[in-house]
């Protein structure tokens, strides 16, 4: 597996979703070494990330429209998942619906949650379909709202759910742009296993 260059800068790793047709300045074009990320789809979606471990990297082409970009990412991601996921291929054979998670309960520090969550694809007991920690925290910035939010991406099934949940959380009445920022709360899944393969 390729190693991501260690000189990822902030701008490169910003995911910006604008209205179709708008340009996103300051972006390098997507290269084949980037890994796509999709944060919607079925629950079995393993979100692959580049090193560094804790950074959620999204590559969305600057000039492509929103839905094109996401479709691309999903395609790329499914390709990668086939290499890595192994046991989790059947979209329907997943855990029972997760109960609504209460924020901050049980009281476990982020470092521990993140560490344990990245054991997901390593676990030998996948047969239960319910490995350790089902949470993927990222820091989200919404235009119009001045502060970042930490959200657990795993509890949203698709972009619409995520967006409406975020709207409810924010001061802003409407969400026109959604920016997911690289943050150390994001979790890397199985990079170790991948790098060795």
């Amino acid at each position: 597996m390729d190693k991501t260059s260690s000189s990822l800068n902030f701008k490169e790793t910003e995911l910006r979703l604008g209205l179709p047709g708008c340009e996103s300045p300051d972006r390098k074009p997507v290269t084949s070494t980037d890994r796509g990320v999709s944060f919607f789809g079925n629950k079995n979606l393993n979100i692959n990330v580049c090193s560094p471990l804790n950074n959620l990297v999204a590559s969305v082409g600057a000039k492509r429209g929103f839905s094109n970009a996401i479709d691309e990412s999903v395609k790329k991601l499914h390709e990668k998942n086939k290499q890595v996921a192994g046991t989790n291929e059947d979209a329907n054979a997943h855990a029972p619906a997760a109960k609504t998670q209460i924020v901050g309960w049980p009281p476990i520090r982020s470092f521990r949650k993140n560490t344990m969550a990245s054991n997901l694809t390593k676990s030998n007991d996948e047969a239960e379909g319910k490995p350790g920690f089902e949470c993927l925290y990222v820091k989200v910035s919404m235009d119009g709202a001045p502060y970042l939010r930490k959200v657990d991406l795993k509890i949203y099934n698709n972009y619409m759910e995520l967006s409406s949940a975020l709207e409810k959380m924010m001061f802003a009445d409407s969400c026109r742009r959604l920016r997911i920022m690289k943050g150390s709360e994001a979790i890397g899944l199985a990079p170790r296993a991948m790098e060795k393969s």
Binding site: L53, G104, S110, T115, S184, E185, G188, R192
Partner: protein, 582 residues
């Protein structure tokens, strides 16, 4: 007869004071009389600031002109569990800037839950010529570039400890910034770093620092390189491994076992991410001497845990996942008679069902078998009043008891009663209890027990408990030594808070979230108690836009001598005291 206090020359008093290290005792000394206050403040070397907003940098500097060591804490404890939104505060920068000017001889900075930037780290590196200790616990806001500045400039650095901090890991080469002439490292903890550090640089660093005692690697540190590292530092007392897995090769195993055999001083082990159980016996040579073992990231099953822990007869502290199960805890109780502290973390806290055979019985066994056990953190899914009663009677020496029953409001599973009586037994029998975290189904009754018996209690954490304000009132009016109280999702409102307002000035802080405290009550508290900062955290927008009777989302009240803080984000409002109202 002359009064003795006035007949001692200052130098003598100063010399006597130099033997008093505890900051609490130092505080007591300073209250004896004015001259003692003066003498004490001029010779004070260490200060502990439990809440960075309780006092300003200028005030600390003015009182203690000769500090060598400062400890600062920022965000409230519940920030660890994502209850405090981003941007809340806890910035250390103003402190560093002020100290850079005032304390050129500063040696130690220890921070917890604070935001520290690379610029700050750079300032530290360049301002304090004799800087020796940097401990950053659960901090964030900096990158490996900041660490490079520390490495490059701090010639006398002894400790660099990044416990569970969030570090933006830009480049593993920061470690190479320690110059070749640098040999004073005693303790290095980089276990929170995401990426590999430059390993050859680490190896050289380790082998040229003869006083190195603590080395905690990160997950990315490969196991097959550990043996070499250990051979370069056989004097290590505490080791944190990286991922404890590798392709199974006999030479890796035998090298590792040989390297461990050479570590005659080793007392503590941690790390153990991604454990391949067949590698565990390599560590057996050090097990009998271990006093501290952290297996809380080791996803290995009970039989392997039992084999390992069974070798560690000298263990005083064990952190482990609930994979250890009741059987493993039985073995622990039988083998580790010197055990003082046990923490059992959940392997599957968000799952809906029990995945391991860990119940209340495991904790009961340990409480029976380990006479020195005084500190417990235990995550489980079921509990009974009977079990808590037995634990309390077995261990009246308990000082820290944190029980987390994973599902909120879980009753005694045998009787279906609330767990009031069980926790009541804990506070009644454990008269020295300093810290308590509650869980399970609890009524106001448990708070009555706490208020009645928990006279030494300093920190209480409450969630999904109680019926009414009476519960909160019991605690505030009864717990004489309470310093920190944190509450979430309890039906506590205005009455208890307003009735016990004066109590709040005797505490460090109170946190309440998802309770029923009204905006009006917050305003009132803020007005009447000028030595408190009453901060309302509400992300729905200005509390003024809602009726006074409307409950606030979150409330953080803390005592302070430096007035309202000026660095609040837009979702925090400080309730003004009367003197501020124009």
């Amino acid at each position: 007869m002359p009064r003795i206090a006035y007949s001692f020359p200052e130098e003598v008093l100063e010399h006597v004071f130099s033997f008093i290290e505890s900051t609490t005792d130092r505080g007591s000394i300073s209250l004896v009389c004015k001259s003692w206050y003066e003498i004490e403040r001029w010779c004070r070397k260490r200060v502990f600031v439990g809440n960075c907003y309780a006092v300003s940098p200028a005030m600390v500097i003015k009182r203690f002109p000769k500090l060598r060591s400062i400890t600062l804490k920022g965000k409230p404890h519940f920030a660890d569990f994502n209850l405090v939104p981003e941007g809340w505060g806890g910035y250390v920068c103003p402190w560093i800037k002020a100290m850079a000017v005032a304390y050129p001889c500063l040696e130690e900075i220890k921070l917890k839950r604070m935001i520290i930037s690379d610029d700050c780290l750079d300032l530290i590196a360049k301002s304090f010529k004799n800087f020796t200790v940097l401990v950053l616990t659960s901090c964030e806001g900096f990158t490996t570039d900041g660490l490079a500045a520390i490495a490059a400039n701090c010639r006398n650095l002894r400790e660099l400890d990044l416990r569970e901090s969030e570090v933006e890991d830009i480049c593993g080469h920061w470690l190479s910034h320690f110059p070749d002439s640098y040999t004073s490292l005693v303790s290095l903890n980089i276990s929170c770093l995401a990426n590999e550090v430059n390993f050859p640089a680490l190896e050289r660093l380790v082998s040229r620092c003869p006083n190195l005692q603590t080395l905690r690697l990160n997950r990315a540190a490969p196991l097959d390189k550990l043996a070499n590292l250990l051979r370069g530092a056989p004097q290590l007392v505490e080791l944190g491994t990286g991922a404890y897995t590798s392709e199974m090769r006999p030479d890796v195993f035998s090298n590792l076992a040989a390297a461990f055999s050479g570590c005659k001083q080793m007392k503590g082990l941690s790390g153990f991410w991604d454990v391949l159980p067949s590698y565990l016996p390599a560590a057996y040579p050090v097990c009998s001497r271990l006093t501290s073992l952290n297996l809380s990231y080791a996803t290995i099953q009970s039989p392997d845990l039992i084999k390992l822990v069974g070798q560690c007869q000298s263990l005083q502290r064990l952190w482990v996942l609930d994979y250890i199960e009741d059987a493993g805890l039985d073995m622990l109780a039988a083998t580790c008679k010197d055990l003082r502290e046990l923490r059992v973390f959940p392997s599957d806290p968000f799952g809906l069902e029990l995945n391991v055979a860990l119940t209340e019985q495991g904790l009961v066994s340990v409480s029976e078998g380990c006479p020195k056990l005084h500190s417990v953190l235990y995550f489980c899914r079921q509990m009974t009043n009977a079990a808590l009663n037995i634990i309390a009677r077995n261990r009246p020496n308990m000082t820290r008891f944190r029980l987390c029953i994973i599902e909120p409001r879980t009753p005694d599973y045998l009787t279906l009663q609330p767990l009031d009586a069980g926790f009541g037994a804990i506070v009644e029998h454990c008269k020295g209890l300093q810290r308590l975290s509650l869980s399970g189904l609890l009524t106001d009754r448990v708070f009555e027990y706490i208020g009645t018996h928990a006279k030494k209690l300093e920190m209480l954490s409450v969630a999904f408990a109680g019926d009414s304000d009476l519960g909160l009132h019991h605690v505030l009016s009864g717990c004489d030594n309470l310093r920190k109280l944190e509450i979430r999702d309890c039906p506590f409102g205005d009455k208890a808070l307003l009735a016990n307002a004066a109590k709040l000035e005797t505490m460090r802080s109170l946190w309440m979230s998802s309770c029923s405290v009204s905006y009006g009550a917050c305003k009132l508290l803020g007005q009447k108690l000028p030595r408190l900062n009453v901060e309302v955290i509400d992300e729905r927008g200005p509390p003024d836009s809602r009726p006074d009777s409307s409950p606030v989302e979150k409330l953080y009240i803390y005592r302070t001598v430096s007035g309202p803080r000026l660095d609040m984000p837009g979702y925090v409002w400080t309730m003004e005291d009367d003197s501020c109202i124009s």
